[in-house]
């Protein structure tokens, strides 16, 4: 029951563990969210910037390349008007140097093929279709066709782009000149460009035709498809779901560079790692919290519980409690020390109080014993003197004997408990003396069961009661008084009754007499008798007074059946 309640209560260490965990969890989670957002933003921004930088670089390189094409065209235009021989010579060396130029062709205004120079390729006898010819480009500057297959030569079909321009021929006539270029150089370069982990870039023309893509053949084979989206976009960077498109148009021709990179892989990778790190951190913190909690409970909660338990035990059984030091932190040790000192002190005080009480009773008793003597002695001696005067020597002797017995028993020092026999002797001696003194105003009778005689009784128990019966009951009577003393053995007590037929007492007097200290004239008070019985034998024993006015008083004394030698054990 008690344990259950303890379990239901939350322990300090659990509170500690939870508090730390929850605190760290919230902080960590909010930090995590915050960081992820920051991270995401910065990564997106970085990815954009990286993409833009990469694309700008590609643009520069490709622009150089196309610039080179323009230069070549420029060169051709300078030589196209020269004499046949010089012109052929030029083209021969030009085509030798520029291995990427497949052919240079010229057309008249109707689009008829006039001349074709190539580096030793065999021109088809019958041209089915000439893909190198373009309708005259309207635009000024460099015009580059979309990629096509070279169709002019036998058994040679490379993919080329055609650069065309209008020039003046030998006789100043208008010519359209086309230069077919294999763009393998630039293709190699574009293949190498990487943006992020899987990003790449490709070249398209302003109409959206693919010029070169690192996976050109995959696209041509229908295995891959490039999203059509960038075709319609103007220059700039665009974030579409997790793809970043960066588009730049070349300044000197109709090509555009499209950079494609993936934010997703960058961010999710990193964020995943962050999350993983945070989870591990959280785990560590949890361990720490648990560790701290355990430590805390070890250092504080457990000794505190021990202390509480010790206090509870002390509360229940203060006298026999033995305190064992509780180990713990400084505070706990101090608390434990203080409690230990307190326990010792309280136990000392309790012992002291009891000792003091016993001593008090003893001294009180001794004092009272000493106190009754002079009065009583004086009266008795007076009586004896008077007897002697009258020559009632026998009676005087008896009186003196009784007095001697009375005192011997009273004085028996050190023996607080005496056999009932002696107590009865004491009572008889007293009654004898008083009977002389009161000149047979009263009669008395003893009725004692033999078996009761060996039992112990606190000394001077009957005498004060008899004294009370004489002084307060019979003394004031006109008729002859009578005192009955009966001793009976009951089941587990000895019952002594002193009955008189005196004036009796009211209820209040009865109650008062048990609480009033002895006065000057009376000897040991009834209260004293009662108190002593209780001290020696326990609360269950003592006096019971019943009285009725003008009828008499009955005092019952109950003591346990204790024989000599038994007392200490009970």
């Amino acid at each position: 029951m008690r344990k259950g309640r303890l379990k239901q209560k939350i322990s300090l260490s659990a509170v500690m563990t939870w508090a730390v965990t929850v605190l760290v969890l919230t902080v960590l989670l909010s930090m995590l969210l915050f960081f992820i957002r920051m991270y995401q933003n910065s990564i997106e921004k970085n990815a954009m910037i990286a993409s833009e930088q990469a694309v700008v670089q590609v643009v520069n390189t490709v622009e150089n390349y196309t610039g080179d094409m323009a230069d070549a065209m420029e060169m051709i235009s300078r030589h196209i008007g020269r004499q046949e021989e010089a012109r052929n010579e030029f083209f021969q060396s030009f085509l030798e140097i520029r291995s990427d130029v497949v052919a240079v062709t010229t057309y008249d205004l109707e689009g008829r093929l006039l001349d074709c120079w190539s580096d030793g390729l065999k021109q088809k006898a019958k041209l089915r279709e000439n893909l190198s010819y373009m309708e005259t480009p309207e635009k000024k500057g460099l015009h580059i066709s979309k990629p096509h297959v070279e169709s002019l030569f036998e058994e040679y079909y490379p993919w080329v782009v055609t650069v065309s321009g209008n020039m003046r021929g030998q006789r100043g006539q208008e010519l359209q000149v086309s230069m077919d270029i294999r763009f393998s150089n630039i293709a190699d370069y574009v293949d190498e460009v990487g943006i992020g982990q899987h990003g790449y870039c490709f070249i398209q023309d302003t109409e959206g035709n693919l010029v070169y893509h690192p996976q050109q053949q995959l696209i041509y084979s229908g295995l891959k498809e490039e999203a059509g989206e960038p075709d319609s976009l103007a220059d700039g960077s665009y974030l579409r779901s997790n793809v970043i498109y960066t588009i730049r148009t070349l300044e000197n021709c109709n090509w555009r560079i499209v950079g494609v990179s993936y934010v997703d892989e960058l961010i999710t990778n990193r964020v995943e790692r962050m999350v993983r790190i945070c989870l591990v951190l959280l785990f560590l913190v949890l361990i720490t919290a648990m560790l701290l909690g355990t430590l805390f409970s070890w250092l504080f909660a457990r000794p505190a519980n021990q202390l509480t338990r010790a206090m509870g035990e002390f509360e229940k059984n203060a006298e026999n409690f033995r305190f064992v030091q509780v180990e713990g932190t400084g505070e706990i040790s101090a608390l434990s020390d203080s409690f230990g000192h307190m326990v010792v002190r309280i136990q000392e005080l309790m012992e002291q109080v009891r000792q003091e009480e016993v001593t008090l009773r003893k001294t009180e008793l001794n004092a009272l014993q000493a106190q009754i003597n002079p009065h009583f002695l004086y009266n008795t001696l007076d009586s004896i003197a008077w007897m002697c005067e009258e020559g009632r020597n026998e009676e005087a002797v008896e009186m003196v004997n009784a007095l001697a017995r009375l005192f011997r028993i009273s004085i028996s020092r050190g023996h607080e408990l005496i056999p009932l026999e002696k107590e009865l002797l004491h009572a008889r001696s007293y009654l004898k003396i008083q009977n002389y003194r009161y000149k047979n105003q009263f009669t008395y009778h003893f009725d004692v069961e033999e078996g009761c005689l060996p039992y112990l009784c606190s000394k001077i128990t009957l005498q004060p009661i008899i004294e009370n019966a004489i002084y307060h009951g019979i003394d004031r009577m006109v008729d002859e008084g009578r005192i009955d003393i009966r001793i009976r053995e009951e089941e587990d007590v000895i019952l002594m009754t002193v009955t008189d037929n005196g004036v009796g007492m009211s209820q209040e007097q009865c109650r008062e007499i048990l609480h009033r200290e002895a006065g000057d004239r009376t000897g040991i008070g009834i209260k004293n008798v009662n108190d002593r019985i209780r001290i020696y034998f326990g609360e269950a024993y003592g006096l019971l007074i019943t009285s009725e006015l003008d009828e008499g008083t009955c005092v019952e004394i109950r003591i346990p059946k204790v024989k000599e030698g038994d007392y200490g054990t009970k």
Binding site: R128, H148, Q217, Y220, G222, R273, I277, L281, I287
Partner: protein, 340 residues
């Protein structure tokens, strides 16, 4: 009570250092993990040893196979695989192929991407390889084995039908057809011929005059064709089903100067056959997608190694009919001419 207490104390005395040790270990591991993660670069899971995929094909010389190889290499690079490419010198040599299969298994190939010279004769070698735990992907030409994980090829029967459709497009009133096919044991050639024959059956204009099987070389098919034409001069349509026989037929026509009179429906493309298409010796080319076969074959091998789901156990790659009229159309250019 007292005993109980001491018992608990003793077990606690044992548990505390143990638990402490465990916690410290956790701590160290956690911190190490974090520092390792913070230091680590963005690179993925770190490269483990590369997986090995062997590509064993019928031939290594034709433009068709070169295109297959370039597709296979593209996929090999993309998926970071070690790729070996082997094939016999001639397209009838199934023995060499079987040896190559066995060697690939010995060398620890995880997947063999295979194109069979002989539908029956290669079966046992493939089964043996599969029994060693090697996975099999077939491209182009099938093999008689139940251990094949995936087949990636032209729908050969349908390609044959397409060839037949090209023949039927001819305005001639009477079509007297001669067939020049390659090795009888090669599955794809037979499937193409079957598709071709089935599609022509029932057309009253068509009469299949002769069908010959030649070695898969230019010379043999040229000789065979010339002989067939000598025996059956009435033939005005010739169908042939692979790159080498196409060239042989083309050369025979060239030599006999029958370009105008004879319609030739041929298979696959290379610069010579494209030239013949332009000059008239050949009238239609059934062009497959070898690059895709190579690429998809190796991609499929990668998926098998990584236990990724396959799209299907049978993948058909595209086939296009190219005629003189459409050969320079943009889409046809892309099919006909590889980009290098």
């Amino acid at each position: 009570m007292g005993q109980n207490k001491t018992g608990r104390k003793r077990s606690a005395g044992l548990l505390i250092p143990l638990g402490g040790l465990l916690l410290i270990l956790c701590y160290v591991a956690g911190i190490r993990y974090i520092t390792a993660n913070l230091k680590g670069n963005d690179g993925g899971n770190g490269e483990t040893s590369k997986h090995y995929v062997a590509l064993v094909v019928k031939s290594t010389t034709s433009a068709f196979w070169k295109s297959v190889f370039s597709g296979a290499n593209a996929a090999g690079t993309e998926y970071n695989l070690t790729l070996t490419i082997e094939g016999p010198d001639n397209e009838e040599d199934y023995k060499t192929q079987n040896e190559q299969i066995a060697r690939a298994v010995e060398n620890g190939a995880e997947v063999i991407v295979f194109s069979a010279v002989d539908y029956e004769a290669n079966g046992a070698a493939i089964d043996a390889a599969a029994s060693q735990g090697v996975k099999i992907v077939v491209i182009d030409s099938d093999v008689n084995s139940s251990q094949v994980s995936s087949r990636i090829s032209t729908d050969n029967y349908r390609a044959g039908q397409m060839a037949a459709t090209a023949v039927l497009d001819s305005p001639e009133e009477s079509l007297r057809v001669g067939i020049v096919n390659f090795d009888k044991n090669s599955a794809n050639g037979q499937q193409r011929e079957a598709g071709f024959r089935d599609a022509l059956r029932g057309d009253h204009r068509v009469q299949i005059v002769d069908a010959i099987n030649v070695l898969s070389t230019t010379e043999d098919s040229k000789g065979g064709t010339m002989e067939m034409l000598k025996n059956h001069p009435e033939i005005n349509v010739i169908a042939t089903f692979n790159e080498w026989t196409s060239l042989g037929v083309g050369y025979a026509i060239q030599e006999l100067s029958l370009a105008e009179e004879t319609m030739v429906v041929a298979f696959d493309s290379n610069v010579v056959s494209v030239g013949m298409l332009e000059t008239g010796e050949v009238d239609a080319l059934i062009v497959q997608n070898p690059y895709a076969m190579g690429y998809l074959g190796v991609e499929c091998a990668y998926n098998l190694i990584n236990n990724l789901p396959l799209e299907s156990s049978q993948v058909d790659t595209a086939t296009t009919v190219i005629t003189r009229e459409n050969m320079f159309e943009e889409e046809c250019q892309k099919v006909l001419f590889t980009f290098d």
